[in-house]
């Protein structure tokens, strides 16, 4: 393919993405309040799954603390708004910074040991956060939930939809820019062969630390926005169930692919709204589906699609 044709193709691709985004942006005007809510939650999970994918899919480090970092964002922002009377938007920024800070600390502690240590420590971290939230009842209101003000003066689903849309676009842009930069090249080099990458001068620990900190910060932002949207922050935001949902969305959509987490987030959230009618089976059902996908199609829906297209048109694959 010549240079010109590839630019044309990428222009067409950008145009298609732009058109899709514009079509999506007018969608809530045609939907009822309930469906608007579902879309907002979809966008929240898109932010969560895309940022988790940054650390898990592109650097191969499994963090079980992603929901916990979202919880830190939510609680920091919420507590600042309730106890200090801060503007919620300042709170969201503070929550993002706090999540980045804790991400940096956890990362500094265990990323030099590699692989398993990060998973163990983040799992412990999320459990500890739970205990602290439940014990510091005066500040966090424990399982009762902390009532927080909304982001806008007059509550409307449409404005929250746009806030979350902007949040999701920011998250996806940061992930895209990072992955398609020299740093992103380092990410993949570290994932493919740590020793070779380090021999070629890639600072393995610093690369992982950067990915983990950015990923945690994005989770913190998503959590803070979500807390102000629900206007009630409960320990469910930093729970392992939530972590599991984010993980399954990414795995089912396609770990390590850019669109995979977005597809996974939308599919699973919409599906869970339908399954909810049958009772609390949806976590179990998603678990079984995720187990089958992770075992038989580790690249998720995106991988299945690529394999199918590759079979259909082997000459262009």
């Amino acid at each position: 393919m010549s240079q010109g044709a590839s630019i044309l193709k990428s222009n067409r691709k950008n145009f298609l993405y732009g058109a899709g985004l514009a079509a999506f942006a007018v969608l809530p005007w045609m939907l009822g309040v309930y469906n608007q809510h579902v879309l907002i939650v979809c966008l929240f999970y898109t932010m969560m799954a895309a940022s988790w994918n940054l650390i898990a899919g592109y650097t191969g480090q499994i963090s079980f603390g992603h929901a916990a970092f979202a919880g830190i964002g939510a609680y920091v922002s919420g507590i600042l708004a309730v106890k200090a009377g801060l503007n919620p938007w300042v709170g969201v920024a503070a929550g993002t910074v706090a999540a980045a800070f804790f991400g940096l600390l956890v990362g500094l502690l265990c990323l030099r040991m590699g692989g398993i240590y990060l998973s163990l420590t983040t799992l412990g971290f999320s459990e500890i956060l739970h205990i602290i939230i439940n014990n510091e009842y005066e500040i966090t209101r424990g399982t009762m939930g902390l009532q927080v003000p909304g982001l806008t003066t007059s509550y409307s689903k449409i404005s929250y939809f746009y806030i979350f849309l902007v949040g999701a676009v920011i998250t996806l842009t940061i992930v895209y820019k990072l992955v398609h930069s020299n740093v992103g090249l380092n990410f993949r080099a570290v994932q493919n062969d740590e020793r070779a990458a380090s021999a070629l001068g890639v600072d393995v620990v610093r690369t992982r630390l950067l990915a983990f900190t950015v990923s945690s910060a994005l989770a913190g932002m998503a959590g803070a926005l979500f807390g102000h949207y629900m206007m009630l922050i409960t320990p469910h935001i930093p729970s392992l169930d939530q972590q599991f949902l984010v993980l399954s969305m990414t795995v089912i959509g396609g770990l390590g692919s850019f669109v995979g987490p977005v597809i996974g987030a939308f599919c699973l959230e919409i599906l869970s709204e339908y399954i909810r009618a049958w009772g609390e089976y949806h976590v179990l059902v998603f678990g079984l589906v995720a187990l089958v996908v992770a075992r038989f199609a580790p690249k998720g829906l995106v991988g299945i699609y690529k394999a199918w297209r590759g079979k259909k048109r082997p000459e262009t694959a």
């Binding site: 398993i116 163990l120 420590t121 459990e127 609390e280 089976y281 179990l284």
Partner: protein, 285 residues
């Protein structure tokens, strides 16, 4: 208070050590951390409750059967889920984590959210050196836990099977060259790891009733013990388990009960900051 907190610490420490042994064994041989470890522990607790209470079986038989079933279940999990991920640590972490959530929700569906408790083995309490009265059930748990640990160590240090385990965890390639079927050994050791979690479960269930999510703190503690003792070190599990049991219970007695499990996490942070390879780990982990 110091005496009774220490006693509690030793009893629970032995169980921590037992449960950590299962994790450490699997890490040493397969380099896989089983995030569903706590759920296997709970599964055995539920089975022993079912067999002993609902079916009215003999206690010892119910416990043995529960451990045996969990062992077979562990073999199946290794065969169906873990085996295809060899060489890819990422997916074994993801798969065992999903499995743990699936099992938790399945327990919730089958057994409900209520705590279940198999009948105790013994009644009454014993006077310990004239200091305090201590529940016989906890003493029995201490004895049973110690027996299982001694049995595991004897198996690893004295038998031919133990020699294979030690050889494989030291150098996998060399063990294969000497004719060890490492694939089958992986399966057996994963099952054995689950069976050790199950043993801890049946021993502790009469003291701490089982609920669908009660396995999470147990598994986390086992992971902290494994990091503290050094990944793959069995001796480290014993020292680490007792240390953690004592620290948690003394901390709960003197500082704060609500933060009991946080003390373990503080130990984890200290180990990672000061000596990441753990007490008995190799330098290169």
């Amino acid at each position: 208070m110091f005496a009774i907190a220490s006693m509690n610490g030793i009893v629970i420490g032995v169980i921590y050590a037992l449960s950590a042994l299962g994790v450490s064994l699997v890490v040493g041989i397969m380099n896989v951390v089983n995030f569903a470890h706590g759920e296997f522990y709970i599964l055995a607790g539920y089975f022993s409750y079912l067999f002993a209470t609902a079916l009215g079986m003999n206690l010892l038989a119910a416990m043995t059967l529960a451990v045996a079933i969990v062992f077979v279940f562990g073999l199946l999990v290794e065969y169906t889920l873990i085996r295809p991920t060899y060489g890819d640590d990422l997916y074994s972490l993801i798969l065992t984590f999903i499995l743990s959530i699936v099992l938790q929700n399945a327990y919730l569906l089958i057994f409900g959210p209520y705590p279940n408790k198999p009948p105790g083995w013994v009644r009454g309490a014993t006077d310990i050196f004239g200091l305090f009265m201590y529940g016989n059930q906890r003493l029995a748990a201490l004895v049973a836990g110690t027996c299982v640990i001694v049995f595991v160590f004897a198996m690893i240090k004295l038998t031919w099977f133990g020699r294979i385990i030690r050889a494989t965890s030291q150098d996998r390639g060399m063990a294969e060259l000497n004719g060890v079927n490492t694939t089958r050994l992986n399966m057996l050791s994963f099952g054995l790891g689950c069976a050790l979690a199950a043993a801890a479960g049946v021993i502790l269930a009469p003291v701490f009733p089982v609920t669908p999510t009660a396995g999470v703190p147990v598994a986390l503690t086992a992971f902290v013990v494994v990091v503290l003792g050094g990944m793959g070190s069995l001796r480290g599990c014993i020292v680490g388990g007792l240390t953690l049991g004592l620290v948690e219970n003394l901390g709960a007695a003197y500082l704060s009960t609500g933060y009991k499990h946080v003390f373990g996490f503080i130990i984890l942070i200290l180990v990672l900051a000061i000596r990441p390879s753990g007490l008995f780990g190799h330098k290169e982990a």
